[in-house]
């Protein structure tokens, strides 16, 4: 049933509300356990069958990508309408139907830089969760200095030939396709990089999961030996990949920070102050017994409040047409610090209860905190290290120059 979006916001809201009421399955209105998150793609198993129904219904409206143009499968909604949709989903506690690097990062960049044929070919499958994408950026020798990447891409007349290695490729072992930065000219640095797409089932692609200190393996090493790629899968100009890469990083940084690295809701974990109250204890007035820890928790919570207010301020100012680049540039840095501080304080509050690894004898939530604490150490490294973010603030915002 095609959805004709009324232009009047109130009418739109009412219609969206009705549609969600009718189409969002009951079980999709409950908090989502980690193992029911839908990432889509060929390997998606839909542990909860309702999540398949929910994804299909939402995707048919284009509402997994509400603001993308309709011609590419998107919802064609205005920002305001998308906001209403978001609010109405939040109102009934509807789950996000699809988690996807294609939606958050690659799609927006392809809309901006891809040709018509590429957009028609790739975007609808992202909207419907049919293709799961991964990002081939970092290399063993190119982390913070991303433009130092060496993965070689040669023009072989009727195709490109790719050789090299990527690392920290998120979920490469589960992805169908990769958007990848490759070197097409090694005589120059930034100007010798191209942006290319290929199927992870291509001959010569190999992935090896990397086990992290937290025990999980969300990242892979990815190897390319003589991978043949059709020529129509290069996006933009040959040697013009860097500006696409940079734009995509902006999408990545804003999606990492906007998610605030997740909250405790619906995961079995408690909030920081709850853990502190339980494990440190309180006096007759309900005050934490460890005054020093209490002060540091308050300081952290104020930082968090200040951060959230800053995100709100930035959104309001952007809406009013004011320049907000300055504020946006500190968000990733502050979000990483905030999340790491939170986890350190949680571990400290839990005491030895926060030092379990697996098995019996430890609370399930506490073990998640422990893993989350270890995982949080990556927040100041992935998607641009905190040091790189401080460089960006120094140079672009404060205008401080390099040595002359």
């Amino acid at each position: 049933m095609p959805f004709d979006a009324p232009s009047d916001p109130d009418a739109f809201r009412e219609k969206v509300r009705g549609w969600l009421e009718e189409n969002c399955p009951e079980s999709m209105r409950t908090p989502m356990p980690e193992d029911e998150v839908v990432w889509g793609g060929r390997r998606e198993k839909f542990k909860n069958p309702d999540s398949k129904v929910w994804l299909e219904r939402m995707a048919n409206q284009g509402w997994t990508a509400p603001t993308w143009p309709k011609e590419y499968g998107g919802g064609g909604l205005t920002r305001e309408q998308a906001k209403i949709l978001e609010q109405e989903m939040a109102r009934i506690g509807a789950r996000t139907p699809l988690f996807s690097f294609g939606l958050w990062m690659f799609g927006p960049a392809l809309i901006e830089f891809g040709n018509e044929e590429q957009k028609k070919r790739f975007l609808p499958d992202i909207v419907h969760g049919k293709t799961r994408w991964c990002q081939g950026y970092s290399e063993p020798g190119a982390g913070s200095d991303l433009a130092g990447l060496q993965t070689k891409c040669e023009d072989k007349g009727d195709h490109y030939l790719i050789n090299g290695q990527k690392v920290w490729t998120s979920y490469a072992n589960e992805a169908d396709w990769i958007f990848c930065l490759v070197r097409t000219d090694n005589t120059v640095k930034h100007e010798g990089i191209s942006f290319i797409l290929f199927d992870m089932e291509s001959e010569g692609v190999e992935t090896r999961p990397i086990k992290l200190i937290s025990g999980s393996s969300p990242f892979c090493e990815t190897f390319f030996s003589d991978v043949k790629v059709p020529k129509d899968q290069l996006v933009g100009e040959v040697n013009g990949g860097w500006k696409i890469a940079k734009r995509l990083l902006q999408h990545e940084r804003s999606s990492i920070s906007a998610s605030g690295f997740g909250s405790a809701r619906g995961t079995g974990m408690l909030e920081l102050e709850e853990y502190a109250k339980i494990h440190v204890g309180t006096d007759g007035d309900g005050k934490l017994l460890d005054g020093d820890l209490r002060g540091r928790i308050a300081e952290h919570q104020m930082y968090t409040k200040a951060f959230n207010l800053t995100v709100q301020r930035s959104q309001q100012q952007a809406k009013a047409g004011q320049e907000v680049g300055h504020t946006a540039s500190i968000i990733k840095y502050a979000a990483a610090k905030m999340n790491q501080d939170k986890h350190e304080l949680m571990i400290e509050s839990l005491g030895t209860e926060g030092l379990g690894w697996e098995g019996e004898g430890f609370d399930r939530g506490a073990k998640m905190v422990t893993r989350g604490w270890l995982r949080s150490k990556g927040n100041s490294i992935e998607g641009g290290t905190s040091e790189i973010n401080l460089n960006v603030v120094s140079k672009r915002v404060l205008g401080l120059r390099d040595h002359q």
Partner: protein
């Protein structure tokens, strides 16, 4: 929560920023200090009154200009930028709010038009030790027929050295430490038994210790309900804290701008010092703190205007964050200026000295972290 200024607020902001820049720069505070004026500046007070700054929070019916807390915050930020010594916080914010919230119609009619006109300045006489502690008041007010007799002492009363009227917080019930049992009194400077000891303070703004030795006040000088002073005092203090935090943001921004400028002119090893990464990152971290604190101040100001129920929490957030930020930035300002930052000739020291006073007034960062934790149930 509104973070974007209205046109009127923008205009007031521009007026205030231009005024303090042109008429009350740090150089002016320096000359007041050198002339031994201890921050007292009748000429500035007259000009502030002409601009209507004393009446920003006062309704039109009492001759004010009746704007908003957000508007007042812009004036405070502007005065913070140049460290201007003015009676605005004590008189236009704390004094006016206390009379508006606790005063009888007669008291409002008597005092508010004079405050708006800059004819009268007020000072809140609250703390009795060297740390902010509203419930800790021990100064006694004893019933004596037609009024009360006050005995006690007040410490480091901001603007106390020149205020015309004091709002004295005294205990009419219970004992030091109880929130209940406080009463607010309007005590004129020339009241018999009141001694004002002028203090020379590190920030050159001055202050005073007060001694109340059998000071008699009539019932007509009681501000708000007896024993229930905290009902007026807490919201008034929160407005004061938020306004002071706005001033502190202004000081932090100005000190940061001065340092940022210096990093782009001072050379060592043949390079601008701003090109050294160790210093760049410190500047970027300060900038981050400033951005976060800016949001807290704007949110707190706006919360007062929309009468939200989380004003107390946001006031503590704003004051604590502003204290931490001005502390950091003022220290870094001295350090990044190097030797010249240690000289009296340079303005760095003025910012650092004033910062410590701002941090201590109306509750330190540590006071407000404690309060924030309490308000959040731990």
């Amino acid at each position: 929560m509104t973070f974007v200024l209205t046109e009127d607020q923008e205009m007031l902001r521009d007026t205030a920023v231009n005024f303090t820049r042109d008429e009350l720069p740090v150089k002016h505070l320096r000359s007041l200090r050198d002339a031994g004026k201890n921050g007292v500046d009748p000429e500035a007070r007259r000009k502030l009154a002409e601009l209507g700054f004393f009446g920003v929070l006062i309704p039109e019916e009492y001759d004010g200009v009746e704007m908003s807390m957000t508007a007042f915050g812009q004036v405070m930020e502007a005065q913070g930028r140049t460290l201007a010594s003015t009676p605005l916080l004590q008189t236009a914010c704390i004094g006016a709010s206390a009379i508006l919230m606790g005063g009888t119609e007669a008291q409002k009619k008597e005092w508010l038009p004079k405050i708006a006109a800059g004819e009268v300045t007020t000072a809140l006489a609250l703390d009795e030790t060297s740390h902010h502690n509203p419930a800790g008041v021990a100064t006694e007010a004893e019933r004596d027929g037609q009024g009360y007799t006050l005995n006690g002492a007040k410490k480091y009363v901001q603007d106390g050295h020149h205020a015309d009227v004091f709002i004295v917080v005294a205990r009419t019930f219970g004992e030091a430490g109880d929130s209940h049992g406080l009463t607010l009194f309007l005590v004129p400077r020339d009241a018999k038994g009141l001694t004002v000891q002028t203090l020379n303070t590190v920030d050159s703004h001055g202050a005073a210790h007060l001694t109340l030795d059998g000071v008699h006040v009539d019932d007509s000088h009681v501000l708000g309900a007896a024993d229930k002073g905290m009902d007026v005092l807490e919201p008034v203090l929160d407005r004061g804290r938020i306004a002071l935090a706005a001033e502190m943001l202004g000081s932090s921004l100005a000190a940061f701008e001065m340092t940022h400028e210096y990093m782009q002119t001072r050379k060592q090893f043949g390079q601008l010092i701003g090109s050294f990464q160790a210093l760049q990152h410190r500047a970027a971290k300060m900038f981050t703190e400033l951005e976060l604190t800016t949001s807290c101040i704007a949110a707190a100001l706006s919360a007062v205007d929309s009468q939200r129920n989380d004003i107390a929490e946001l006031a503590s957030l704003a004051k604590a964050r502003a204290s931490e930020t001005v502390h950091l930035v003022s220290n870094e300002t001295v350090q990044l200026h190097g030797g010249i930052g240690m000289t009296d000739d340079h303005d760095s020291g003025f910012y650092m000295k004033r910062a410590r006073v701002q941090e201590a007034l109306l509750g330190s960062a540590s006071f407000h972290r404690d309060r924030y934790a309490k308000l959040n149930g731990y």
